[in-house]
């Protein structure tokens, strides 16, 4: 957007929204919305507090383990589905069903199977993230141009070399895109998991803040989470743009 001839970047509108929030907060319309400045102060206090730091360690740990499993299982499964029709036909039903299903309905089941602890959260993260990773990896493999395959074989490449040097690299943009979306879903998973379990990590913090009506701290924690999700997504996007130069030229 240009205003008076100066180009203003899009994300700058978030600053305008923050200002609006400050004004609405100061008007004291509703206790739910404290002024942005209070939130920022609460945030600074929060990150220095022991409870937040402990909660973060738990949260990050569950998230990382869950995502590691999701990527470690999801990418190979997606690749197998893309390469072998039989695997695809067998698994396609489930993957397509779970990728858009309300997975939070499964969390109560996970809670009774895995208890009220980190394991449940890790499994939640895994379940939230894995399906889109599988689908995108599959899509990446399926759109490898035939001619690249044939080129490799005509130069005598064996199946493992073909896979490593051609299929994997050609599918990489989609695989990364799937991981990026998987990360976002994983953050949602860790939050939902912890909130429903509600006695660990950020879930516990959210619970205590809302119980004690400490809204500024509540929003501060929320903003930290939102920012973390956007940051992760931006990091993966950076990697995607590094290989984007060949993404468009594949076909």
């Amino acid at each position: 957007m240009t205003l008076f001839g100066i180009r203003i970047p899009m994300m700058a509108s978030l600053i305008v929204w923050a200002l609006l929030w400050e004004i609405v907060g100061r008007m004291d319309l509703i206790f739910l919305i404290p002024p942005m400045s209070d939130i920022l102060q609460a945030g600074l206090r929060l990150v220095q507090s022991q409870s937040w730091q402990n909660a973060s360690i738990i949260t990050v740990r569950s998230f990382v383990i869950g995502m590691a499993f999701a990527i470690g299982v999801g990418v190979p499964l997606g690749i197998l589905m893309g390469l072998f029709k039989s695997v695809d036909r067998l698994m396609a039903l489930w993957v397509n069903m779970f990728v858009s299903a309300p997975l939070s309905a499964l969390v109560p089941v996970l809670m009774i199977l895995f208890g009220l602890g980190e394991t449940t959260v890790i499994v939640t993260v895994f379940l939230f993230a894995v399906w889109i990773i599988v689908l995108d990896a599959r899509a990446g493999v399926m759109q490898v141009p035939r001619s690249l395959f044939e080129m490799g074989r005509s130069y005598g490449a064996g199946p493992w070399t073909l896979f490593r040097k051609i299929v994997l690299l050609s599918a990489l943009p989609e695989i990364l895109a799937g991981i990026r979306i998987g990360l976002i879903r994983g953050v949602k998973g860790v939050v939902i998991g912890q909130i429903l379990v509600s006695i660990i990590g950020y879930g516990e913090l959210f619970e205590s803040f809302s119980r004690n009506f400490e809204m500024a701290s509540f929003w501060a924690l929320t903003i930290i989470l939102f920012a973390a999700a956007m940051l992760l997504s931006a990091i993966v996007e950076h990697f995607e743009s590094r290989i984007e130069y060949y993404a468009g030229a594949r076909s």
Binding site: T2, L103, A105, V107, K188
Partner: protein, 277 residues
């Protein structure tokens, strides 16, 4: 090949098995739906075995779960639960659709609207909204309003962003054609942009419905359980795991069926694949 060197019955059995497998393979190829049936069968068998082992005291067998499902279906409790759960879903999606398509089209057409709204929606779509759902109760209590709001919180950003993208990706040649015949701005929007964008807008609505299901489930688990959420939490509290699992499975299956139905409607009436003319 060895079957031909075997004598008598053994050879005949081998051959028959061979023919059977080959025949099955052909049928499977001709009716791809059979693969879905097969994978369902595999899952149910694995489930049954896991339940029989049992891998956990809280893991019922497939047959128990299916029986519980049938029982809830026939005594009406399942249908009633769906009726309650679907109310905020339908209401929330309807409101999100109206607001979302309107805002999305506006963002697509006006750079100022885009600048102001798009970043917020992008953040909201990526954000773990589950953290915010419990907040609704402070203002709206625990009734239909609160749950509908939860649905809107999740569905609106998705629908708005997809409508925005749809408008931005309208075929520029068609827009130029309209200009070349001196079409007014209104004519451009209503005769060219919206018709060309409608397949993608509809796809966005479908995603909005998926998000709505997530929203309503979050509402029932985080605000207060009614409908399906009530079935799940009640049966959990009395340790009737077969009924609990059946309720969970039923909502997941319902969401899948809704989305597939929407996709069929989309392909039949909007024909997105024919749009590149």
């Amino acid at each position: 090949m060895t079957s031909y060197t075997k004598t008598g019955e053994a050879g005949g059995v081998h051959r028959a098995l061979d023919d059977l497998l080959r025949g099955m393979g052909r049928v499977f190829d001709r009716v791809p739906a059979l693969w879905s049936v097969a994978s369902l069968a595999v899952l149910c068998t694995a489930w049954q075995i896991a339940g029989l082992v049992p891998i956990s005291f809280a893991f019922p067998t497939f047959t128990d779960t299916f029986a519980a499902f049938l029982q809830m279906l026939f005594d009406g409790s399942l249908v009633y639960a769906f009726f309650i759960t679907l109310q905020p879903l339908v209401l929330g999606v309807a409101i999100s659709a109206t607001l979302g398509v309107g805002l999305g089209v506006l963002m697509g057409l006006s750079p100022k609207a885009e600048w102001f709204f798009a970043p917020v929606f992008i953040v909201l779509q990526a954000a773990p909204m589950a953290a915010l759902v419990p907040l609704v109760t402070f203002v709206y209590g625990i009734g239909l309003t609160a749950k509908t709001l939860a649905v809107i919180m999740l569905a609106l950003p998705v629908i708005a962003l997809n409508s925005y993208k749809a408008v931005r990706h309208v075929n520029p040649s068609l827009v130029a054609m309209c200009r070349s015949f001196q079409g007014t701005r209104m004519q451009r929007v209503f005769k060219i942009i919206i018709p060309d964008a409608s397949p993608v807008i509809f796809a966005g609505l479908r995603l909005g419905v998926a998000a709505g299901y997530i929203g309503v489930m979050l509402a029932e688990l985080l605000i207060t359980p009614t409908g399906i959420g009530d079935l799940i939490t009640y049966h959990r509290s009395v340790a009737d795991y077969a009924h609990m699992y059946a309720a969970v499975a039923s909502i997941i299956v319902l969401s899948m069926l809704t989305l597939v139905a929407l996709q069929r409607i989309e392909t039949r009436y909007l024909r997105p694949e024919r749009r590149s003319a």
